[in-house]
Structure formats: C-alpha cells, structure tokens
C-alpha cells in the first residue's frame, strides 16, 4: 500500500492533500453546518411566504391555469366583503375569549401547583399530567371529543347533566352563538396547559427572598401576589399572551372537526375562511390576500414578542 501511494503522481497526491485541506476548511466555515437547514427554510418557509404576497396581487384560481396581475383588487374585494368582516369578528371573539380564559385558568393552576409542590401536597404531579394530556391530544381528536360530549340530545353527556340539574337541552353546536362558545371552550381545554406550564416556570424564577422580605413587612398573601409575584412574572405573562394569541389566531384542525366552521359561518375563523376560499371556492388570489393580512397580524405580534424577548435575554 505505502509503496503504491508513494508512487502516486505528484498531482494526485496534491489533490488528495488539498481535498483533505478543503474538507478541513469547510468544517471551519459556519455556512457548511447551516446550509442544509437553511435550504429547508428557504424552500419551505421563505419562498411560500413571498409566493403568498405575489399571489395576493393576482386573480389566480384553482381551476384555471391562466391568471393576471390585478394589483390590489383582491384586497379591495376582500376588505369590502361583509363575509370577511363577519369572520374577523368571529375570530376576534374566539381569540380574545380563548386567550383570557387560558391565561386565567393557567395562572390559577400554576399558583395552585406552585403552592402544592412547596407544601408537598399530594396530587400536584397528577394534576399537571391531567391538564397536559389535553394539550398532547391531536387537534382533530379534540374536536371530535367535544363533539361527542356536546351531542345535542339528552343523550349527549353535557346535556344529560344539564337536564339533571333542571335545565333545558342546549343546542351546543347548531345554535350559532352556542357553537362559538363551544369552540372557545374546546380551545381553552386544549390550550390551558401551555399557559400553566409557562407561568409555573415563571413563578419558579421569582427569588424566594422577595417573598420573605414581603412577609417580614407584613404583606398578606394577596398583597404578596399583587406586589411581588405580578411585577416579577410580567415578562413571562406577556410572552405567554403573545404566543397563545398567535396559536389561537391560526387554529384550524380543532374547529375543522368540531364544527367545520358552521353552523353557517358562525365559527369560521379567518384561518378556515382562507382555506375554504382557496380550496372550496377556488379563489387562490383572494385566499392569499387573507393569508397576507393574517401574516401581518402574526408579524406584528412577533415584533412585540421579540421586544420582550430581547429585553429579557439581554441579547
């Protein structure tokens, strides 16, 4: 072997050496390491984003291959359609109610578990597991779970319990307002775990000596919460708020299987409206315009998030 390799022509020898060298050099360039991930990001994240903006300026349709650039026409027709504003109102109610409920329940649970763990109460871990299991279940299944819970005869279990308590049967999914309420309930069920975990993690970062100092000063539990806990975990609460707003705004799967957007358009949030506009009504251009409007809200929320993030991490 060694004889042979020593007999290699100079050129080949150099080539091998320089290949090894350039492999070494490649390894010392960050671009080499990042390239595969960057390629995926460019193809599946950046390009479609740019495409969405471009498509929103066309009259592209799912059924006809030909299309023209029509400027802001898609936006004008979307923004002047009453359906869009109805959907925006539905979305706003859905997002606002879900976010408030998730933060409230998440906070109550985080405080209870924090207290329970410190006092070594039994059931702290089980409670956490119970809440989190709702979050692990696929969105499609969550919609079906609640659909089964809310069956609209006295055979549906929730209606059965209401009946037992002396109330009438409620049309949870076929009455427009009740359907929205049911959707909010199911989404709160799904999302509370996330807020609970984040807020609990936030509570762990509050230095104990602050509580001790407040106790020495004679602060009662409620005062300690108001003047020590709240200011200390404010950044976490804000980050949580932004994240769950974005998640809720883009909810699709759970609503698809729970109500499909119905009855009528009663639970058709913007994500659903966009999808149905594109794939059921074939207006890709207008669907893209809705997508771009949603994108703007996403980016706006992200900007808020990053501000807090940068302040917190001191980056």
């Amino acid at each position: 072997m060694s004889v042979r390799s020593s007999r290699l022509p100079e050129g080949v020898h150099d080539a091998v050496a320089s290949a090894a060298g350039s492999f070494e050099r490649l390894q010392n360039t960050p671009a080499t390491w990042i390239a595969p991930a960057a390629l995926f990001l460019l193809v599946f994240r950046l390009y479609p984003l740019i495409e969405a903006v471009r498509m929103s300026f066309t009259n592209m349709s799912l059924v006809e291959p030909e299309y023209q650039y029509v400027g802001l026409e898609s936006y004008v027709s979307i923004l002047s359609s009453s359906t869009f504003w109805t959907m925006s109102r539905v979305t706003l109610i859905f997002v606002a109610a879900s976010v408030v409920l998730q933060i409230t329940f998440g906070m109550i649970l985080a405080l209870a578990i924090d207290y329970g763990v410190k006092e070594k109460l039994r059931g702290s871990v089980s409670t956490r597991v119970a809440v989190l299991s709702a979050w692990v279940i696929p969105g499609i299944v969550i919609g079906i779970l609640w659909k089964i819970m809310l069956i609209e005869t006295n055979y549906g279990v929730v209606n059965y319990l209401l009946l037992q308590a002396g109330f009438d049967v409620v049309a949870f999914l076929s009455d427009p307002q009740m359907a929205l309420l049911s959707t909010i309930t199911a989404n709160t069920w799904r999302g509370t775990a996330f807020s609970m975990i984040m807020l609990y993690a936030g509570l762990q970062q509050v230095p104990t000596h602050l509580y001790d100092a407040a106790k020495v000063d004679g602060a009662r539990a409620l005062q300690r919460f108001r003047y020590v806990t709240i200011p200390q975990i404010k950044p976490v609460v804000f980050i949580n708020l932004v994240l769950i707003t974005i998640y809720t705004l883009n909810t699709f799967d759970m609503i698809m299987s729970l109500t499909g957007g119905g009855p009528g358009h009663a639970t058709e949030v913007l994500a659903l409206f966009m999808y149905l506009e594109g794939f059921n009504r074939f207006n890709l251009g207008q669907a893209a315009a809705v997508a771009v409007l949603m994108l703007l809200v996403n980016v706006l929320m992200t900007a808020v998030y990053m501000r807090i993030f940068i302040e917190e991490e001191g980056l």
Binding site: A37, A130, S133, I140, Y275
Partner: protein, 286 residues
C-alpha cells in the same frame, strides 16, 4: 399515639389555602380528564347503551366491537403505519438537519449571527397555516402532491426553526473548554461534534425528537392539503374523513379517536419530564 399525631397534623394542614388548592386540583382533574374518559367509555359500549337513558357513565357490559369495526371498515391500520413512517423519518431528518446548524449557531461567531437567529425565530412565529396555499402550488410543481416524501420534507422545513433554537440552547450549556480539549487532541470539528458534544446534548435531541414525533403525528392542515388518496392518509386526516362518513355510530367514531390519541398519551405519560422541558425551553427561551 402516632395515629393521634397524624390526625392532628392532617387537621392542621387543612388550612384554607390547602383546601383551596385541592379544590383547584379536583376541578382541573374533572374538567381535563372527563372528555377523554367519556370517549373511552363510549368506545367500549354495546350498541344500545350509547343512546340509553339515563346515561351510563361506566358501560355495563364492555365490548371491543367498535374497535373491530374501525379496523374492518376503515384504513386505520394503514393510516397508523403511514403516520409512524412519516413521523419517524421526519424525526431522523430533522435531527440530521438541525443538529449541525445548532452546533454552528452555538460555536461559531460570525457577522450577522444575531440577525440570522432572529430571522429563524421569526419563521417559527409565523404559522404554517398562513402559507398553506402557496405551499400547495409549490408541491404541485415539484410533483410532490400525494407523496409521503413531500410531506416529510415539508414537515422538516416547518420544524427547522423550533428545533434549531431548542438544540442551540442545549449546546450553549456545554462549556467550550470541552471542544477545545478535543481539538487540541487532534479532533476535527466533525469528530468533536460526534464524539464529544453529542453525548452531552443527547437529552436536547431527545426533546426535539419527541416534539417532532408529536407534531408529525398530530399535524392536520398540511397532510390534508398534500394527501388526497385514502391509502396515503395519516391518522389525523384518516380520522377526519372517517368521522364525516360514520357519524351514525358514535361508538365507532369514539373508538377511532381513542386509537388516534392513545400513542401520544402513552408516550406523554412515560416521557412527561421531556415534554415539560421542551415546552418551557421552546417557549420561554425562544
């Protein structure tokens, strides 16, 4: 003696905050577990027992008949196989693609690194739902519609930002001295990564793998858009189409739902620690 003491301390401990905490625990347990348990109980009933009045909370006679019906009347076994295949390949792909990137973001200093990292974060924050329509066109042009390969590549693309940030936070916790020692001993960067750093970031890789598995298993919008042949369906879209056709017998829909959520619930209970870690580190730290 000891009995009296413990009884006393139990009374002692049942102060107002403790009672309140237990009240919260109990309410949460009922609210969050009841829908799951109800659907499980529904899936084990005899035909007449679903629509019985008064409603039975625990089925009187248990039957596995709904499960048999799901397996016979739907492509559930195929869908489970498809979901497993897609989730496993996605996990392998994402780990291979994002571990080197996370390593680079943690260990190299280069101009614009902060901006690139924030760019990645920005992508993470923008929901994939927003880009589903152009993605459909793109997949059509690439001939990747109705292929598992297309869906797997797409999932990897969507999950790159989250996975990079999470893995980077793990790399950041390992002192650079470890790398330097290995480099002095003549290891290349690749060798350093594989032999020295990987064992230490293994828990991070586990978290990334688990979260990606759950994501791939549960994902709906993209699978629904990319796959249209029922033989290629994943569990999520299979279940969705099945419940649409089968809403006459809720026991069977319930059984299908139990099958769809059971693997994730089992995984979650077994690996609870990793889930909490991923949630906190993925969200609080980026």
């Amino acid at each position: 003696m000891s009995g009296r003491y413990s009884a006393e301390s139990a009374v002692d401990r049942l102060s107002a905050p403790v009672a309140l905490t237990y009240l919260v625990y109990a309410t949460a347990a009922v609210f969050f577990l009841f829908p799951v348990l109800w659907v499980v109980s529904m899936s084990l009933r005899q035909p007449g027992e679903v629509l019985s009045y008064p409603v039975q909370f625990v089925p009187r006679r248990v039957t596995l008949d709904p499960y048999v019906r799901v397996l016979q009347d739907s492509g559930m076994l195929t869908w489970i196989f498809n979901s497993l295949k897609i989730a496993i390949l996605e996990v392998v792909g994402i780990v291979l693609v994002t571990t080197p990137a996370a390593y680079a973001f943690s260990r190299f200093d280069f101009r614009g690194k902060r901006h690139v990292l924030f760019g990645v974060l920005l992508f993470q924050m923008i929901s994939p739902v927003v880009i589903v329509i152009p993605l459909y066109n793109m997949m059509a042009q690439l001939n990747l519609l109705d292929t598992h390969l297309g869906l797997i590549l797409l999932y990897i693309g969507l999950q790159v930002p989250f996975s990079i940030w999470l893995l980077k936070s793990y790399f950041d916790t390992i002192p650079e001295g470890l790398d330097e020692a290995a480099r002095v001993d003549g290891c290349s960067r690749l060798q350093t990564l594989i032999y020295v750093l990987l064992p230490s970031v293994a828990p991070g890789i586990a978290v990334v793998a688990i979260f990606n598995f759950v994501f791939s298993w549960a994902e709906f919008v993209m699978a629904f858009t990319v796959l249209s042949e029922s033989d290629l369906y994943t569990v999520s879209i299979g279940l969705f189409s099945f419940q649409g056709q089968y809403s006459m017998d809720w026991r069977v829909v319930a059984a299908a739902s139990v099958i769809a959520m059971a693997p994730l619930l089992v995984m979650f209970v077994a690996l609870q620690r990793y889930f909490v870690k991923g949630l906190v580190e993925g969200a609080v730290k980026g």
